[in-house]
C-alpha cells in the first residue's frame, strides 16, 4: 500500500520516523548516485537524455557523459570536480551560460551532491530493481530459538542490528482469526476457534494453514486480489457502460486456477498469451480475458480507433504495473524521466498487444454443466439407438404394404380433385385485448382500434359442402390503414400467426401440414399448426403484399347442411405481430403436394426397375415415416427425440486473439493516435534480460515467457512482494506499484530477493509460497504497538511486529453475513444483484440500467460476486475503498470515513445481518444475558470478551430492553425479520440494537 495515502491517520499521529525512507542497505555507490540521478532526471535529461542530446551531451550513460565533447570540453571528469564542465555550467553566474537554461538554478544542496559524486569517480549504478537476484544465504542470528524459517533470519538480523527484539507470538485466538481473514476472508466459528486454542497438537497451526489453503474460499479471497489487478468489472465503462453478462466466466477461471494452485508462471502466461500456446484449450484461451477487462466506449460519434488504441495502452501499462512494478505509462508520451524506459521501448511493448484483437469465443458455462451435458448426451444417444432398433424391427414385413400403397398413390394422383376455396357464412367475429374486427364485403376482416402486443381472433360460421373439406385457407391481405400497408399490425407491417385451432361441429380437428405462398425464414406456415405458441407463420421481408397459406386437415371432413365451424387464430408472439386484414376459407380438393411430396411423386412415376437404390430407399423411408402404421408413430417419436437432443452449455466470452493480418506499430507522438511517427517492432526493456523468441518475430507468448523467465529478476520480486503485502498490509517494497527509482527501496532487500528466488524454487506455487510466509515467526508476531518502537520505527519498517489493518470492502460484507448465518457459501457463477437504493442505478447514463434485485440465496452471496457496474458501482463496495476497476490496482488503500460507519450501521444488508445475528445468539444454549453477550462477542471477535466489554454491552442491552418495553410498536418494526423463536419482539429488538453495535466494532472488521 502506498504510504502517502493509506492510513493518513497513522501517519498523522505517529510523527517520528527515524528509519530513513530512502534506503536501508545502500552500497556507497548507490547512495552517491541515486540523488544525482534524481536531479539529472528532473532538470537535465529532457535535453541531455535518451531522447534528445543537445550539444551531443547525454547524461544518462556514463560512457557518453564522461567523453570529450565536440567543444573539447568534458561534462564529467570522474574524480576531478574542477575539470568537469558540468559543474562550471551549473554554478555559472552568467545567466546565458548557466545550466539548466530554464527555471531556478540548481540548489546548493544538489550541486553539493553532484560534486561529491564526481569526486568519488562518478559511479553509475544500476537501479536495484533491475539487478540480478542476490543469492546470499540467509544470515546467521544470535537467537536461533525464535527462527521458524529463513524469513525470520533476515528479519531478526536486521532487528538485532538496530538493537531490537521481535514481538512475541500472537495468541492463538488472534492467529486463527488472522489466518482465516487472510486466507479465506471468512471468520472461524467459535467452535473452530475453541478447538484451535485448546489444541495440544504441536502441528495444529500448520494443519490449520493447510486446511485453509485447501478451502474453496481460498480461491475467492486470493482471486479477488488478482481481480483488482485485472481491473475486473461487469460492464463496458464510459457513457453507455453496457453490461457484460458473461464477464464472470473469467472470474471463475481465476478462482479455479488459484484453488487448483496453478503455478504463477503458467497463470501469468495463460492470461497474457493463452491463445498462442500450442493447441490451446478453451480454458487457456479464456484466460486471455485478463486483457479484455479494458473499457469499451460505445458512445455515439466516437472514433473507434482512438478507443482501440486506448485499450492497447491500458494493456501495455497494466502489464507493466502488474508484472514489472513500473509506471511505464509515462513513456507513452516521452521517454521516462526517472526510469530507464525510452518512448521507443514503450511502443515495442505496445506492439505485442497491438496485434492482439478483441474476439469472442464459446466456452462451457461451467465444467459441471459440461459434464452433466455429456452424460445427458450419452443417455440421449442410447435412447435414440434403442428407438432406431425398434423401428427396424417394426419395418420388417412392410414390403407388401408398400406395394399396395404405391398403387393407391398412383391412382389418387391420376384422379386428383381440383382445389377450391369456399366462403363461410360468418356468425361472429371477436378479438381479445381490445381490437375490433370489421367485416368487409369480400368476407375479409380489417382489424382496427387497440393494437395489443398479443391477441386472439375467434371466428364462427357455418358452411355446407358437397365435397369433403380438406383444408383451411388464410389470406393475409394488405390494406392502406395498416403500417406500411400490412398485412400485419407490427410497426413494419409484419404479423406472426402463432397457432390455428379449428373445431368442426364442436370437435377439434388436427392439421397435417401448412404451406404458404411465402414464408419468412424460420417462420414456416407449418409452425402455425405445431402446437407451439412461440413459433408461427410470418412474411418479412415480403411486406406490403398479400399472402396466403393453406393448412391441410389430417382427415378430410364432411360438412353437411349448416355444419358449424369455430376458428381461433392465436397471435401470441408479441410486439404487436398480429394480422391487420385477413380472410378465412374452407378448402376442398387436394394438392398434389398434399398427397405426396414432389420427390416421392417422381419416384412413383419412375418404373421400379429403373429406380436408383437411393430412390428406392427414399420411397421406403417416406412410407415408413408417414404412412405405415407400425413405424409411423415410432418415427415421429424418433424425430421428437432428435429435436430434444440436449444443447451444449456454451456461452460467449471476450478473449484476445492474434490478428492474422499484422498491424504495423508506430510510435505515437505524445501518445496521440492521430500522430504516428516511426515504426517499431516488438521487444522487451533494455534494462532487463534479452527477450528470447521462438519464431521469426517476437509475439505475446515470447513476451509472457520473458516476463516469467529465470533470467528476469524484476517480475519475481514484484510478484513475491504482492503476496507479502497481502499478508502484512505493507510490501517489503512499500510502493507496491512502483519499483522504479521514484519508488521506495525494499525495507529488506536480501529478504525480498530470497523470497523472489524461493517463489521460483517452489515451482511458482502460490499456496506453498503463502504457506512459507505464514509459517514464519515474523508473520506470527503480535501486532500490538510497542512504546519503544513508536520512537524508532513508527511505520514498522523493521517488522518488529505484525500490522493491524482493516479488511477490504467485499470482506466487510462477507464477515457480517457469515457471523449472522446468512451467507451463501456458493463459489463462482454469474454476478448477483444484492439490494441497491433505486436512485443509485439511475445515476448511470440516461438511467439506462435496471438493477433487478436477486432473490433467495443470491441476495446473500459474497461481496466479490456483486455485479460491478463501472459508472455506478455498488455504494457498499465503494464506501470501503473498493477500486473503481477502470484501471489496474495492485494495492488498495484503507480509509476511515463516516460513510463507512453509516453503511454498517444502517444499510439494509448490514442491518438484516444484525437481525439474524440476534436471532442466532438467542437461539444458542446460553441462558443468561451475560452468557449471550459472551457468545455474541466470541462469534464476532473470536476471543473471550473482557469484563469491561461485557459490562458495556450488558448496559446497552438493559437500556434497549427498557426502551422497547415502553415502545412495543417500534420493537415490532425493528425486529421485522428473523424473529427468534420463543422470544417476543421487545426482546428481539433489544438484542438487535446490541448485535448491530457488535458488527460495528473496529476489531470485527480488522484482522486483529
Amino acid at each position: 500500500m502506498r504510504p502517502s495515502y493509506i492510513s493518513l491517520m497513522t501517519l498523522a499521529i505517529v510523527s517520528c520516523v527515524c528509519i530513513p525512507a530512502e534506503s536501508t542497505e545502500p552500497s556507497d555507490a548507490d547512495s552517491l548516485f541515486a540523488p544525482v540521478r534524481q536531479v539529472f532526471a528532473e532538470r537535465c535529461f529532457a535535453c541531455h537524455g535518451p531522447d534528445v542530446q543537445e550539444s551531443d551531451l547525454r547524461l544518462d550513460e556514463r560512457e557518453s557523459a564522461t567523453e570529450p565533447l565536440d567543444s573539447g570540453m568534458t561534462a564529467i571528469v570522474p574524480g576531478d570536480v574542477d575539470a568537469s564542465e558540468l559543474i562550471a555550467r551549473v554554478t555559472s553566474s552568467d545567466e546565458s551560460d548557466r545550466m539548466p537554461p530554464e527555471g531556478d538554478p540548481l540548489s546548493a544542496e544538489s550541486i553539493g551532491l553532484i560534486k561529491e559524486w564526481i569526486s568519488k569517480s562518478a559511479p553509475y549504478v544500476q537501479h536495484w530493481a533491475y539487478t540480478d537476484l542476490d543469492t546470499a544465504e540467509p544470515p546467521d542470528v544470535d537467537d536461533e530459538t525464535w527462527v521458524k524459517n529463513p524469513i525470520d533470519r533476515f528479519v531478526l538480523a536486521k532487528l538485532q542490528s538496530h538493537g531490537l527484539t521481535p514481538s512475541p507470538r500472537a495468541d492463538r485466538a488472534t492467529l486463527i482469526k488472522r489466518l482465516h481473514y487472510d486466507l479465506v476472508g471468512l471468520p472461524p466459528t467459535a467452535e473452530q476457534a475453541a478447538r484451535f486454542v485448546q489444541s495440544d497438537d504441536p502441528n495444529a497451526y500448520e494443519t490449520l494453514v493447510d486446511s485453509l489453503l485447501n478451502s474453496p474460499h481460498f480461491g475467492e479471497r486470493w482471486g479477488r486480489h488478482w481481480l483488482d489487478k485485472a481491473r475486473y468489472a461487469d460492464s463496458d465503462g464510459y457513457e453507455k457502460d453496457r453490461p457484460r453478462m458473461n464477464a464472470w466466466r473469467y472470474r471463475d477461471w481465476v478462482i479455479n486456477a488459484i484453488n487448483d494452485d496453478m503455478p504463477m508462471d503458467r497463470f501469468s502466461i495463460e492470461q497474457l498469451a493463452g491463445d498462442l500456446l500450442a493447441n490451446p484449450t478453451a480454458d487457456q484461451r479464456l484466460a486471455t480475458a485478463f486483457h479484455r477487462q479494458t473499457l469499451t466506449n460505445t458512445e455515439g460519434g466516437t472514433d473507434q480507433e482512438q478507443f482501440r488504441v486506448d485499450a492497447v495502452f491500458d494493456r501495455t501499462e497494466t502489464t507493466g504495473t502488474v508484472w514489472l512494478g513500473l509506471t511505464i505509462g509515462c513513456a507513452r508520451c516521452h521517454s521516462h524521466k526517472y526510469d530507464e524506459i525510452s518512448q521507443d521501448e514503450y511502443y515495442r511493448l505496445f506492439a505485442f498487444f497491438n496485434n492482439g484483437d478483441e474476439a469472442n469465443m464459446q466456452v462451457p458455462t461451467s465444467d459441471a454443466a459440461m459434464r452433466k451435458y455429456e452424460s445427458q448426451l450419452a443417455d440421449h444417444e442410447r435412447r435414440r439407438g434403442e428407438l432406431k432398433q425398434e423401428i427396424e424391427q417394426a419395418a420388417l414385413g412392410s414390403a407388401s404394404a408398400l406395394e399396395t400403397w404405391e398403387k393407391e398413390l398412383v391412382s389418387r394422383m391420376a384422379s386428383l380433385a381440383e382445389v377450391q376455396s369456399h366462403d363461410l357464412v360468418i356468425e361472429s367475429a371477436d378479438a381479445s385485448g381490445g381490437p375490433s374486427l370489421e367485416r368487409q364485403k369480400d368476407n375479409s376482416f380489417v382489424v382496427t382500434g387497440e393494437n395489443p402486443d398479443v391477441t386472439e381472433y375467434s371466428i364462427t360460421g357455418t358452411l355446407s359442402l358437397k365435397q369433403p373439406m380438406t383444408g383451411l385457407r388464410i389470406d393475409a391481405l394488405v390494406d392502406d390503414s395498416l403500417p406500411d400497408k400490412g398485412p400485419g399490425r407490427a410497426k413494419n407491417g409484419n404479423f406472426v400467426l402463432a397457432e390455428i385451432e379449428l373445431e368442426i361441429d364442436g370437435k377439434p380437428v388436427t392439421f397435417a401440414a401448412g404451406r404458404a405462398s411465402f414464408a419468412q425464414k424460420n417462420f414456416q406456415a407449418s409452425n402455425a399448426v405445431d402446437g407451439d405458441g412461440k413459433t408461427g407463420w410470418a412474411v418479412s421481408p415480403q411486406l406490403g403484399k398479400s399472402h396466403h397459406a393453406t393448412f391441410w386437415l389430417s382427415e378430410p371432413a364432411d360438412l353437411r347442411d349448416g355444419t358449424r365451424l369455430a376458428l381461433r387464430l392465436r397471435q401470441s408472439y408479441g410486439g404487436q405481430h398480429t394480422l391487420g386484414k385477413f380472410r378465412m376459407r374452407a378448402v376442398t380438393g387436394d394438392e398434389l403436394e398434399q398427397i405426396a411430396p414432389k420427390k416421392i411423386r417422381a419416384i412413383v412415376e419412375t418404373d421400379p426397375s429403373k429406380r436408383t437404390r437411393k430412390q428406392s430407399q427414399d420411397l421406403q423411408d417416406h412410407f415408413l415415416q408417414t404412412v405405415y402404421t407400425p413405424t409411423k408413430s415410432l418415427r415421429a417419436q424418433l424425430d421428437k427425440l432428435t429435436k430434444q437432443s440436449p444443447k451444449p452449455p456454451l456461452m460467449d466470452v471476450r478473449v484476445i486473439a492474434d490478428r492474422s493480418n499484422r498491424r504495423a506499430t508506430k510510435v505515437l507522438d505524445r501518445g496521440d493516435f492521430l500522430s504516428p511517427r516511426d515504426e517499431v517492432v516488438e521487444g522487451g526493456l533494455g534494462v532487463l534480460s534479452p527477450l528470447q523468441i521462438r519464431g521469426d518475430k517476437p509475439d505475446r507468448l515470447d513476451l509472457a515467457r520473458w516476463l516469467m523467465d529465470d533470467a528476469n529478476p524484476l517480475p519475481s520480486r514484484v510478484l513475491a512482494n504482492h503476496v507479502w503485502a497481502h499478508l502484512f498490509g505493507e510490501g517489503i517494497v512499500r510502493t507496491v506499484n512502483d519499483f522504479g527509482v521514484r519508488g521506495q527501496p525494499p525495507t529488506h532487500p536480501s529478504l525480498l530477493d530470497w523470497l523472489a528466488a524461493e517463489y521460483r524454487t517452489l515451482g511458482w506455487s502460490r499456496k506453498q509460497f503463502i504457506k512459507l510466509i505464514v509459517m514464519s515467526a515474523t508473520y506470527q508476531q503480535s501486532s500490538r504497538h510497542r512504546e519503544e518502537l513508536s520512537e524508532i520505527d513508527a511505520e514498522n519498517r523493521l517488522l518488529a511486529r505484525q500490522n493491524r489493518f482493516r479488511v477490504p470492502a467485499e470482506i466487510v460484507r462477507d464477515l457480517c453475513l457469515s457471523v449472522s448465518g446468512l451467507l451463501s457459501d456458493k463459489v463462482g457463477g454469474p454476478s448477483v444483484f444484492p439490494p441497491l437504493p433505486a436512485d443509485v442505478a439511475s445515476l448511470s447514463y440516461a438511467n439506462n440500467f435496471k438493477w433487478e434485485t436477486s432473490k433467495g440465496a443470491d441476495r446473500f452471496r459474497r461481496g466479490m460476486y456483486t455485479f460491478f457496474k463501472r459508472t455506478s458501482p455498488h455504494p457498499n463496495l465503494i464506501a470501503f475503498d473498493c477500486p473503481d476497476s477502470n484501471t489496474t490496482n495492485v494495492a488498495r488503500r484503507n480509509s476511515n470515513t463516516p460513510l463507512q460507519a453509516l453503511t454498517v450501521l444502517n444499510n439494509e444488508v448490514y442491518f438484516e445481518a444484525s437481525q439474524a445475528l440476534a436471532a442466532r445468539v438467542l437461539a444458542g444454549d446460553a441462558s443468561t444475558d451475560r452468557q449471550r453477550v459472551e457468545d455474541l462477542l466470541r462469534i464476532c471477535l473470536v476471543r473471550e470478551a473482557s469484563s469491561f466489554e461485557l459490562d458495556r454491552f450488558l448496559t446497552l442491552l438493559e437500556h434497549s430492553r427498557n426502551w422497547f418495553t415502553a415502545h412495543h410498536s417500534e420493537a415490532a418494526e425493528l425486529a421485522s425479520r428473523h424473529q427468534p423463536e420463543g422470544f417476543d419482539r421487545v426482546e428481539a429488538a433489544a438484542w438487535i440494537s446490541v448485535t448491530r453495535i457488535a458488527l460495528n466494532l473496529d476489531e470485527f472488521i480488522t484482522r486483529e
Binding site: 493518513l8 509515462c330 504497538h785 477502470n886
Partner: protein, 495 residues
C-alpha cells in the same frame, strides 16, 4: 487522561514542532497529513482531527467554498452566451474546406455540412453590458457579478472523457476530481457535514459516479451524494424502530469498547475509526436539518422557484420533477456553503442537443436560469459571494455547423465542439462584469485569449490560495496534480 488522549496530546505537541513534509514534495500535501488536534472530549470521548480538518493554503485565499454547476452534455454556447451575427448571415452555407480539413466530428458528415445560425435573440445586461440570449434573463440580471469566458477549449471530444477532463484535468480514469483536490489540499470547515458534496438533477450523466470519484486519493476525498428530499445521504437514517437515544447509547458503547481496544493495542487507526463514527453521528443530526427548508422565507423559496412546475416539453433533461429538484439543489448548495462545505458539485444532465436544439435548450434553460440567478443573488445579499466561487461549466461546446447525421436535411441540432466554448463564474475573487476571450466570427475557433481547461483549474485553485503546481499527490512514482502537465493562472480574472 486516558492513554488514547495522552497519546494524541503528545503527538499533537510533536506535530506542531515539526512540519510533516517528508513524504511529499508539496506543502499542503504534507499538511494534509498533519494538523492534528486533540480536542476537549465534551461530546463524549476522544476526538482526532482527521484528513478533513482545515489546512493552511500556500498563500492568502480569496475563496473558501466552490459551487460547481456542472451542465453535463455540453450546452450550446452559440445559443446562450456567444452571439454570432456572421453565422446567422451564412446560415445554410458550407464551411470552407480549409477549416474542416483536419477536424473531427462525432456525427456531422463533412461533405454536406452547412452552417446553422441561431434562432435566439441576444440582449445586453447591467452596467457591463454583458450579453445573454433570451433563454437566460435571470442569469443576465446578475451580469455585473459574472466573469464570462468565451474562449475555453479542451482536449476531449466525447462526453465521458470530456467530463473527466473538466472534473479531473485530464480525460482519463482513476484521477481525483476537483472537489477531491480542494478537500485534500484544504480540508473542510464543516464539522458535521462532508467537505465535498454532490447534488444531481435531471437524467444520469455520461460520467455517472466517476464525476465525483477521488481516484487514487482515499475515498475520504470522494464526493458524498446528497439527495434533495427524503434520506439526504445514503444510509443516514437509523433502521426503522431505532430511536436517536438508543443510537447515541449504541455509539457510546461502540466508542467505549473501541477505546478500550485502543488502550490495549495502541493502533491509531482505531482512534480514526472512532472519529469517523462521531462524524457520522453529527451528520445524522446535521443533514436532515440541512435539507429541511421550512426555515427559509417564502420569498427565498420563490426566488429559487422551488415550487415551480416543470416547463412544457423536456426530452433529454427531464427526470421526475426536474425544475423543483434543480431549484432545491441550488438552495441546498447555499445552505451547505453556509455550513462550511468546501465543494458542492451540482450536476444537471443532459444538454446533449444533437437535434431539437431550440425546444430542448429552452426547456433546460428554463429549468436552470431562475435558480442559478437566485443562488448568486442570495449568496451576495448574505455576504457570502466574495468567498464562494460559483462556476457554471460543462465539458465542451457545440458546433456552428448544423448536425446532419445520416444525411439528415433539416438540421435542428449541433455536434460536439472541443475547439471553443463558454463558461461563467461569479464571486470567489473573480472579477464581475467582465467578458473574457473571443471566438472567431462564426464561433469556430478561439481568436483571442485562449483558456485551456488546465488554465481554468489553475486560476480556480489560485483563488483558494493554492499554487496548482505545488498541490500534488504521488501515485505510481509520479506527482499528479489537477492541472496535469499544464495550467497557467489567468491574472486578468483576479479581483
Amino acid at each position: 487522561m486516558s492513554p488514547l488522549q495522552q497519546h494524541l496530546t503528545r503527538q499533537h505537541l510533536t506535530q506542531t514542532r515539526r512540519s510533516f513534509l517528508n513524504t511529499n514534495a508539496c506543502g499542503i500535501g504534507g499538511a494534509a497529513l498533519a494538523s492534528l488536534l486533540a480536542r476537549d472530549a465534551s461530546a463524549g470521548g476522544p476526538k482526532v482531527s482527521g484528513p478533513m480538518s482545515p489546512k493552511t493554503p500556500h498563500f492568502e485565499a480569496k475563496a473558501k467554498s466552490c459551487i460547481f454547476i456542472f451542465m453535463a452534455g455540453a450546452p450550446s454556447q452559440i445559443d446562450l452566451f456567444d452571439p454570432k451575427p456572421k453565422l446567422n448571415e451564412l446560415h445554410g452555407q458550407p464551411l470552407p474546406e480549409s477549416m474542416t480539413e483536419n477536424v473531427r466530428f462525432a456525427f456531422i458528415q463533412k461533405d454536406s455540412a452547412v452552417l446553422m445560425g441561431s434562432n435566439r435573440k441576444y440582449q445586453r445586461y447591467g452596467r457591463s453590458g454583458m450579453v445573454f440570449s433570451d433563454l437566460l434573463p435571470h442569469v443576465g440580471s446578475c451580469a455585473d457579478d459574472l466573469l464570462m469566458v468565451r474562449s475555453l477549449h479542451t482536449d476531449q471530444f466525447n462526453h465521458h472523457p470530456g467530463q473527466l477532463m473538466m472534473q479531473c484535468g485530464r480525460g482519463t480514469f482513476g484521477l481525483p476530481t476537483m472537489g477531491s483536490w480542494l478537500t485534500y489540499g484544504l480540508g473542510s470547515e464543516s464539522e458535521n457535514l462532508p467537505g465535498y458534496v454532490v447534488l444531481t438533477s435531471g437524467r444520469g450523466s455520461s460520467g455517472g459516479a466517476t464525476l465525483w470519484q477521488s481516484g487514487f486519493l482515499p475515498s475520504t476525498y470522494a464526493g458524498v451524494r446528497f439527495r434533495d428530499q427524503g434520506e439526504p445521504v445514503l444510509n443516514l437514517s437509523n433502521p426503522t424502530g431505532l430511536p436517536p437515544e438508543l443510537q447515541r447509547r449504541g455509539l457510546d458503547t461502540l466508542r467505549e469498547v473501541n477505546g478500550a481496544r485502543y488502550d490495549l493495542v495502541r493502533d491509531p487507526e482505531i482512534a480514526s475509526r472512532i472519529e469517523s463514527y462521531e462524524l457520522a453521528y453529527r451528520m445524522q443530526m446535521a443533514a436532515p436539518e440541512l435539507i429541511d427548508l421550512s426555515g427559509e422565507s417564502q420569498a427565498t423559496l420563490d426566488m429559487y422557484g422551488v415550487d415551480r412546475k416543470d416547463p412544457p416539453g423536456g426530452g433529454r433533461g427531464k427526470q421526475g420533477e426536474t425544475a423543483k429538484s434543480f431549484a432545491r439543489n441550488c438552495l441546498l448548495a447555499r445552505r451547505m456553503v453556509e455550513r462550511g462545505v468546501r465543494f458542492v458539485n451540482l450536476v444537471y444532465a443532459s444538454w446533449d442537443h444533437h437535434s431539437n436544439l431550440d425546444q430542448e435548450l429552452t426547456y433546460n434553460s428554463t429549468v436552470v436560469d431562475q435558480p442559478i440567478a437566485a443562488l448568486i443573488k442570495d449568496l451576495k445579499r448574505r455576504g457570502l459571494l466574495d468567498e464562494t466561487m460559483v462556476v457554471w461549466g460543462t465539458e465542451f461546446g457545440r458546433t456552428p455547423l448544423g448536425e446532419n447525421r445520416n444525411g439528415r436535411k433539416n438540421n435542428t441540432g449541433r455536434d460536439h465542439h472541443p475547439y471553443s466554448f463558454s463558461m461563467f463564474m461569479a464571486g470567489g475573487g473573480m472579477k464581475g462584469g467582465m467578458t473574457y476571450g473571443k471566438t472567431d466570427e462564426i464561433g469556430w475557433g478561439v481568436e483571442e485569449r485562449p483558456v485551456h481547461v488546465n488554465d481554468l483549474h489553475a486560476t480556480m485553485l489560485q483563488r483558494f490560495g493554492i499554487d496548482h503546481e505545488r498541490l500534488t499527490a504521488r501515485f505510481q512514482g509520479r506527482d499528479f496534480r489537477l492541472t496535469d502537465v499544464g495550467g497557467k493562472v489567468i491574472d486578468d480574472w483576479l479581483v
